[in-house]
Symmetry: C2
Subunit: 321 residues, 2 copies
């Protein structure tokens, strides 16, 4: 039996999995990335994790057919280098794919993490059999990936699918990317947290104060909980986040006419208090024939979507697709 | 030798061409559509034009291999019907493709006109050899089409590429589609005309008044000309139109990472007074790695893009691609 290795290389954590040719994962390990130590040390660390994982199943690298890695950054599919990554500082221009190929002497593919997660949800998850799919991941930041005609849409260099940095309101709040008014600056978990903190500081929400508790760290889920309990100010935050998300999704619907929009990330299970206004805005803003037919569903694969997707992409690659 | 027929069925005009298998057009005719007479009468009229055109070259329908038609409306590629079309009122749910197949007893394809024009520019025009391309047509309205990985992106039902109706400013000016603040309501020829007329009515632009002349019909090109002559109010109109176009294009760049954006339609040759601010806004608003590599060019094929594109799509179809 032949094995494959899938890696999700994030800014804070690395997720390493051993799988078979059908993408079934036998064993996984999650460790801190320590990205600031630079690519060489991180890749050495990865290698030791890989060796550890396969040794536990009594196999060697000779039994492994290929390695798929997805990363939190812009990976140029032509130059095979990381072009930029706020999550992996200092990795710019690192020849990740060639380096991995040299280290493992195996077929290697590298893909952006949100693109890989989109493909994972398409092959194994909430977008199964939906050949035209938008994937959006709503967490600390907002990422995205696009499936058209059953294929991952990469664009010219692999930078496609950047839903989170469409500017939905020029001169809006500052975004981590350096611009202002990106979708991420309104509708990400960190944006909702930021607005919630302002409510607390201004003493405008007793329900939220009660939920967050004194001295505790406020998170977006507290804001959602307060909104569900009838806190009008918290509800305003949730509805504004939902409104701009619906607006941005209407752009993807107009441009791409998808069957389904799959929502992943920590906020995917925020429930109807969030998704109802998202759906309402999307339906109002998108062109009618495309808006009517698209459904909005939560993702299935959770934080395994990236690894599963990169394993599916590796499988396509090994089959010469 | 085998021939093909390409038709661009617009709201006001029909463009009918006879071509060979390489998409070379031998003969064309342009006639009013008279869309309001309904699909049956228009299709009879089309048939007589087709017969007339081929008779002039001494050929018969037996020498014709296929018919490609592009139309100004939402054509559902699954049901093979026109779902809606502001330009062809009363054609909703008309089974255009089946009707044409029955009438001509030939392989027939039907495509949205902007999608066909995008494919035309990709195969024969300004997007040649650029596998990832955005096409936008700037005329009375704003249409668009998308090429990814060398293929026309249709989406689930063929409604993809609707760049003109992305809402770039909620609660903006009314758009012909019934919504408010669509790109078309800011950056189309008719939007620029509307703003120019307001300038004239309010007596705020002597240069524009001089150019338009008393009693003459103001067009967008008068506004561009006045801006070029230093009319500050006209320049504001042009720059606002350019700003929102650049913003909408930044959405397409973030989502699709194209090599090139091809601008067609009447405004494609407005020059640097328009394209400089479009480019500036696009570069500021889009993600850096994708913005850096995309170029903005005028289309080459003019109003033949639709017919040429539908002939190329017909060729793919006949070759079983």
């Amino acid at each position: 039996m032949k094995y494959r290795i899938g890696v999700d290389l994030g800014g804070t954590k690395m997720f390493v999995s051993l799988a078979n040719g059908d993408g079934e994962i036998f064993r996984s390990q999650r460790v801190p990335t320590k990205a600031l130590q630079g690519p060489s040390i991180v890749l050495n660390h990865l290698k030791s994790i890989v060796n550890e994982i396969i040794a536990q199943d009594g196999i060697s690298l000779k039994d492994v057919e290929g390695l798929g890695v997805c990363i939190a950054g812009f990976f140029d599919i032509r130059s095979k280098r990381i072009v930029s990554s706020p999550n992996l500082p200092g990795w710019e221009l690192f020849p990740l794919e060639d380096e991995l190929t040299a280290q493992y002497d195996l077929p290697v593919i590298v893909e952006n993490d949100a693109n890989a997660a989109a493909y994972g949800e398409y092959v194994f998850g909430a977008g199964k059999d939906k050949n035209n799919m938008i994937f959006i991941t709503l967490g600390t930041g907002i990422g995205g990936g696009i499936i058209t005609d059953g294929k991952l849409l990469r664009g010219s260099r692999g930078f496609a699918g950047e839903i989170g940095h469409m500017i939905v309101l020029p001169q809006g709040p500052p975004c981590g990317c350096g611009k202002f008014g990106c979708l991420e600056s309104f509708s990400s978990g960190s944006a909702i947290e930021r607005e919630g903190r302002m409510l607390l500081q201004e003493g405008r929400s007793s329900i939220l104060s009660g939920l967050a508790g004194p001295g505790s760290v406020l998170s977006a889920s507290h804001v959602f909980a307060a909104a569900r309990e009838g806190d009008k100010e918290a509800l305003k935050i949730v509805e504004r986040a939902a409104y701009f998300l619906g607006l941005a999704l209407s752009f993807t619907v107009n441009l791409l006419n998808p069957d389904v929009i799959v929502m992943g990330g920590g906020m995917a299970h925020s429930g109807e208090i969030f998704f109802n206004p998202v759906r309402r805005c999307l339906e109002e803003a998108a062109i009618a024939p495309a808006a009517k037919m698209v459904s909005l569903v939560p993702s299935c694969l959770g934080d395994e979507a990236g690894v599963k997707g990169v394993l599916a992409l590796l499988d396509d690659h090994l089959q010469g697709k």
